[in-house]
């Protein structure tokens, strides 16, 4: 009797702490909404579709920031995804056993480096390099909108490059785990049918497709919310432009730069509303990505248990 009541206290007691995590997510959503009411009430949906950002006159439109965040993250994803998947495939399928652990450790190390260090390196090493790249870009190419703009170094290209490096470890470590979870019977079956190595890997990727999409989305979520490194290299100039060379701005960067300067309440609420949108987008991306990864992992458990064929039992 005493024992079962002890168990119950233990369960409820530890459960209360666990509930705190749920509360935290709800609390962030509530607080961010509450603190942006002024801006939500005044601008409504116009906030997301207009480009004026004038703290003096009290006109706020967040379009350039949303654009900058999405554009930089998508560019980063385009660069990071093939590399991250290549790494995951190499480590889990191709590399000699001896190299596996060290390589996994090294790529994970990329995720451990603080974003301020990325930013510092970006400002002093990468940006000058990008500037040189932009200076030597032939004029004919510069007439294309994608490459228009002055060779400043800071700008969309620098931001996308640094973001790409930063999200590679996240995508590749999840993709690695997904591939590890693909039953080896899948590959063996492919080899038995005469597949080459690439074709067998293609089968494994096909099996883990949902999980791998989840891994890519996880990287996307990271890119969307990355603040300091991007703030340091993107140039912080609000404009909606497809140009890689022009300085632009992101949602996280404008919060980082202007939050302490927000003198009046409306300005502050406008900034927090940007934070709220960032929260909603990243939560949505993360939820979808986690669900995809989970659904993949759950699918793996089943075939391991099921196939004990009668013939095999008879033979044994």
């Amino acid at each position: 009797m005493r024992r079962s009541s002890d168990d119950r206290t233990f369960r409820l007691g530890t459960g209360a702490f666990a509930a705190f995590v749920l509360l935290l997510v709800a609390g962030i959503a509530f607080e961010l909404t509450r603190q942006s009411m002024l801006s939500i009430a005044k601008f409504g949906l116009k906030f997301w579709t207009t480009s004026t950002w004038n703290p003096v006159s009290g006109d706020f439109g967040a379009l350039p920031f949303i654009w900058g965040t999405l554009y930089s993250s998508i560019l980063a994803l385009l660069m990071a995804t093939p590399i991250a998947l290549g790494i995951a495939i190499f480590i889990s399928e191709l590399s000699p056993r001896m190299l596996r652990q060290p390589l996994a450790y090294l790529t994970d190390l990329l995720a451990a480096i603080p974003s301020i260090v990325y930013g510092l390196w970006g400002v002093f090493v990468m940006v000058p390099f990008v500037r040189t790249l932009e200076t030597v870009t032939p004029d004919a190419l510069k007439r294309i909108p994608l490459f228009s703009g002055p060779p400043l170094g800071v700008g969309m290209l620098s931001a996308a490059l640094i973001l790409a490096v930063m999200v590679i470890p996240f995508t590749s470590s999840v993709a690695r785990e997904i591939l590890k979870n693909v039953p080896s019977t899948q590959r063996e079956a492919a080899y038995a049918l005469g597949a080459t190595r690439w074709e067998a890997i293609k089968v494994a990727i096909g099996f883990g497709k949902s999980g791998i999409i989840g891994a890519v989305m996880l990287g996307f979520g990271r890119a969307l919310g990355e603040t300091i490194a991007v703030t340091m290299v993107i140039g912080n100039s609000p404009q909606v432009s497809a140009s890689l060379f022009k300085p632009q701005y992101t949602m996280a960067a404008v919060i980082a730069n202007e939050f302490t300067e927000a003198a009046d309440e409306l300005y502050l609420h406008a900034l927090i509303e940007i934070g709220l949108l960032l929260f909603i987008i990243t939560i949505a991306v993360n939820i979808i990505s986690r669900l995809l990864i989970w659904s993949m992992k759950r699918r793996v458990v089943a075939p391991d248990v099921a196939p004990v064929l009668p013939a095999e039992e008879a033979l044994a």
Binding site: T14, G15, P82
Partner: protein, 283 residues
């Protein structure tokens, strides 16, 4: 060999080489970052850096003593509430892994881990700064603590699950209650791993800048007060990096070097601790 098979084999070979190339491409920035941080930072790191205060603008020399102490205070506050909350939450998840509630909490922790740190900073701002209208060390510590919780939760849970089942069964067979079995047998067995995991989480939040910008703010002067703005290594590096002064740039690199070294050492320690636990599992 038919032409078709030759083509397929060639294609496979090319693909394998591309994958290996991807690894090289990713390791280049890692090597470059480490190279520059060591090259620029190690030389700039000296005794003054640890013991002296920042000099006024224009004077060279000085150090980041206030920022180092500030960072320690900030992560101290974070640890103070994130470790018990995250740790006990992790215990719950490891003990009741299959319940709906646990799944929801685990999911929330994972999602929380993906919430941008600057958003968590805004939350801490609304919670701690706004009511008293003052930036403070406390607000910064709270922001870092919130960021730390999901990491501690997942680390604790994963390490507890590595503890051999025989230990638990033994404790229960001896008549221990569940809480007794958990806190005097299972948790101690995983403790070295959990502690290093917590250290890694601390190192991770010590490297955060964005959530501190408008909570702890930063401070050019010496302060250990919890209700006053406080300096931190990361914010100081951020400010210095954007300044036009060479000497400040030098110190920014030194700060970056210090951060990277701490993280390198702790992540290696964590790796060793996990390996030890895994070995325990193999009879």
């Amino acid at each position: 060999m038919t032409a078709n098979l030759r083509r397929r084999k060639l294609f496979s070979r090319v693909f394998e080489i591309l994958c290996a190339l991807a690894v090289v491409v990713a390791l280049i920035p890692l090597a470059m970052i480490l190279f520059y941080v060591i090259k620029e930072g190690a030389g700039a790191l000296n005794w003054d850096f640890f013991t002296k205060m920042p000099k006024p603008v224009g004077e060279t020399g000085g150090g980041m003593a206030n920022a180092i102490v500030g960072t320690l205070i900030l992560i101290g506050i974070a640890a103070l509430f994130a470790i018990p909350v995250g740790g006990i939450c992790g215990v719950h998840l490891a003990e009741y892994p299959e319940t709906k509630f646990s799944s929801a909490v685990r999911f929330a922790a994972d999602v929380l881990n993906g919430v941008p740190s600057i958003v968590v900073g805004i939350f801490a701002y609304g919670l701690v700064v706004l009511p008293v209208k003052r930036f403070s060390a406390l607000a910064g510590g709270v922001a870092l603590g919130f960021l730390m919780i999901p990491i501690v939760v997942r680390t604790t849970e994963e390490l507890l699950r590595l503890v051999p089942g025989g230990l638990r069964e033994g404790a229960l067979a001896l008549g221990a209650t569940r809480s007794r079995a958990v806190f005097s047998v299972i948790v101690p067995a995983a403790l070295p791993g959990i502690l290093t995991g917590i250290l890694v989480a601390l190192a991770r939040v010590a490297g955060e800048t964005a959530p501190l910008l408008f909570t702890a703010l930063g401070n050019r002067f010496w302060s250990t007060s919890l209700t006053q703005p406080i300096a931190s290594l990361t914010v100081q590096v951020y400010t210095y990096a954007q300044s036009p002064y060479d000497d400040w740039h030098r110190q920014a690199w030194a700060g970056a070097f210090l951060l990277v070294m701490i993280i390198l050492i702790l992540s290696i320690a964590a790796r060793l601790a996990v390996r030890r636990l895994e070995r325990m599992n193999r009879p």
